[in-house]
Symmetry: C2
Subunit: 104 residues, 2 copies
């Protein structure tokens, strides 16, 4: 995937409250699929579908050891997105600074 498509899938993955909640949970430590599913009123299959989307977008990594699939945050996906937002923000902040200089 080229970077623009990566960002498409990353932002699309985050446009869902369940997927953001899963990511929030994983930010505080890795978890099995069963542990992740616990707080949600949905089937294990539905949670695994959300996990697949998070994994495809590079936000989450999963690893199967024996019968347990362990999930953790993949920093690469989040970093690419943060970089995009930060770059836009910095151009915008510089503009506001210049405006401040002109008016100040």
């Amino acid at each position: 995937m080229t970077p623009p498509q990566c960002l498409d899938t990353t932002f699309a993955a985050l446009a869902d409250p369940t997927r953001r909640a899963i990511l929030a949970r994983l930010a505080s430590g890795e978890a099995s699929v069963t542990e992740l599913a616990e707080p949600f009123a949905m089937s294990l299959a539905a949670v695994m579908q959300h996990l697949q989307i998070l994994e495809d977008s590079g936000l989450v990594r999963t690893e199967k050891l024996g019968r347990v699939r362990t999930c953790s945050v993949d920093p690469a996906g989040l970093a690419a997105m943060e970089r995009w937002v930060r770059d836009r923000r910095s151009i915008w902040d510089r503009r506001l600074d210049r405006l401040g200089d002109l008016l100040g």
Copy 2:
């Protein structure tokens, strides 16, 4: 809209390369709809549809003065999203720090 729904629409709005390009252009200064449409091989109507999604998500503001609609970045939408990413990131960074302390 409650905050979680706001984030849904913000992330969904950013999951499209044309809308990210429009936002990138607006980060360097406000522009009319006609100016925004220029670099894209699409109709003015298509660009206006993308702008509507960006406006609904709180990322872009538009103002009509006479016959010209001027578009600019709305910092509120971007800020809410940045806050969400930063909060996740900081929990995750603290975890890595603790791990470093244990291993160091």
